[in-house]
Symmetry: C2
DNA sequence: CGTCGGGTTGATAACTTTCAAATTTCGTGG
DNA sequence: CCACGAAATTTGAAAGTTATCAACCCGACG
């Protein structure tokens, strides 16, 4: 969509992402590379961060899928977002003293741990990176907002269509998907908890979408059969996902 | 809840808010005061920012209520958040080149306009303020997340109860409410668009809450009749709204 | 093999919306 | 100060969407 000036493929996907928002100097790029210190591995189902835990780290996802969710006292779960490779996760857990949500790997995961002290230290060395991270956080917030709009004002079919499209667009940005489709390790239960629906209903709606010849969600694979019609049904506009290049020189 | 060290009442409510997150030096406080340059007045119903507009300013609300919302192509509206005095609004519209949502005053409003150049300039002079604003933005995101959870996994009654409590807690923080209740200029239509319900249903649920002796929402006044029972019904935890004092010295 | 989690389907119940209409509130001009 | 019209609130009835419950199927895995 655009060509960020500095950060090239030799830098981390995360640096590339920030570089698309704020033009970064080589000093700043070096500072960013420091973030990728402690590479850690997690396996599916073993929580990385638990609601209420204190002094948590953040992570930059290198491979695998993760989900962030909250649990209610009635036992219900709301998944707030899924993270895919290249995503920064747990910023709020790091910034606030205590984590306000859970983070759990969906697949096996590799991630770089980012300590609070490291991140704040980097903001000292390269202050403009704080602005860059603010930008990135705002983009994440825009995603949550879109998610909110979907749950609040779209019916199940539109909502599911929108979700599959958004995920596709995000995966495409990091080279894990195309306009044909993408590999997707999510279960229908997870879709349900993300979309505020029951798993049974997700299943039915998925069938409708399939029978309409729009998308297919099977065997861990999402396939778009009629992308344009799907975009139209979902009223999907990917503007909030990618941007027009560095806004700050 | 806590006593922020530096910023006292002589500074703006916004400075006080940031001061609760990051200890601010006097230089930084002065820089913040620069934000309150152009005081502007808006009247109810006249949009401040429109979805798609470019190069918008942000605002710091001095008085009045504002709402941020998105419109869907099917005509539905989802209110993402209400802003009350002391709130910063339109950060995303400023950070991204083009606004991704509408902002509209609910009552007559006074606000200080913050130009993009001013804000970024201040980050240059006082880099730690960027971190402080990142903190503030994360707190806002936490609110949106809580909102998302409510719409996704709470039924109408819990959702409404939670909403009224959250609003009350926020107003209390800026001295506009107490545990008795607060003045509230919102219509039932606005509640509906915020909570993902129909106005008719909001009305019915409001009646139930009233008949249960929990809260009353009438004549522009919210009154808590049984706060504890309401908190229990809504599973309300205000942890995400206030914080434990400066996390960064 | 037998179990277990995920997917699928039908039947029924619950919650919420929509439509329609009556009632009340409130600002404005006479 | 009252009358009027617009907007907001309220209520009932019917329709629609989604959840819940229950059962069955299937493939992975120990």
């Amino acid at each position: 969509m655009q060509s960020p000036p500095a950060p090239s493929s030799q830098h981390s996907p995360f640096a590339r992402k920030l570089g698309a928002l704020v033009a970064l100097s080589s000093t700043e790029l070096e500072a960013l590379d420091k973030l990728h210190g402690h590479r850690r591995v997690f396996s599916a189902g073993h929580e990385m961060v638990h609601q209420g835990q204190m002094d948590q780290s953040a992570y930059i996802l290198a491979s695998g899928w993760v989900c962030s969710y909250k649990l209610l006292s009635n036992g219900a779960r709301q998944i707030v977002d899924f993270q895919i490779p290249g995503d920064f996760l747990g910023l709020r857990s790091l910034l606030f003293r205590t984590a306000d949500h859970n983070i759990e790997p969906i697949t096996a995961v590799e991630a770089s741990e980012v300590l609070a002290s490291t991140l704040l230290g980097i903001f000292n060395i390269a202050p403009r990176l704080a602005t860059a991270v603010l930008w990135a956080a705002s983009r994440d917030e825009a995603m949550v907002v879109e998610h909110l709009v979907g749950i609040g004002r779209r019916d199940a079919k539109e909502r599911l269509a929108h979700f599959l499209l958004e995920l596709g667009a995000r995966l495409k940005l990091v080279g894990l998907g195309s306009s044909e489709g993408y590999a997707c390790p999510l279960s229908q239960y997870m879709l349900a908890d993300a979309l505020g629906l029951s798993a049974v209903h997700v299943n039915r709606v998925l069938r409708e979408l399939r029978e309409d010849g729009l998308v297919t969600f099977q065997h861990g694979q999402v396939t778009f059969h009629d992308l344009q019609a799907l975009v139209c049904l979902a009223d999907f506009d990917k503007a909030y996902l990618d941007h027009d290049g560095p806004l700050m020189k």
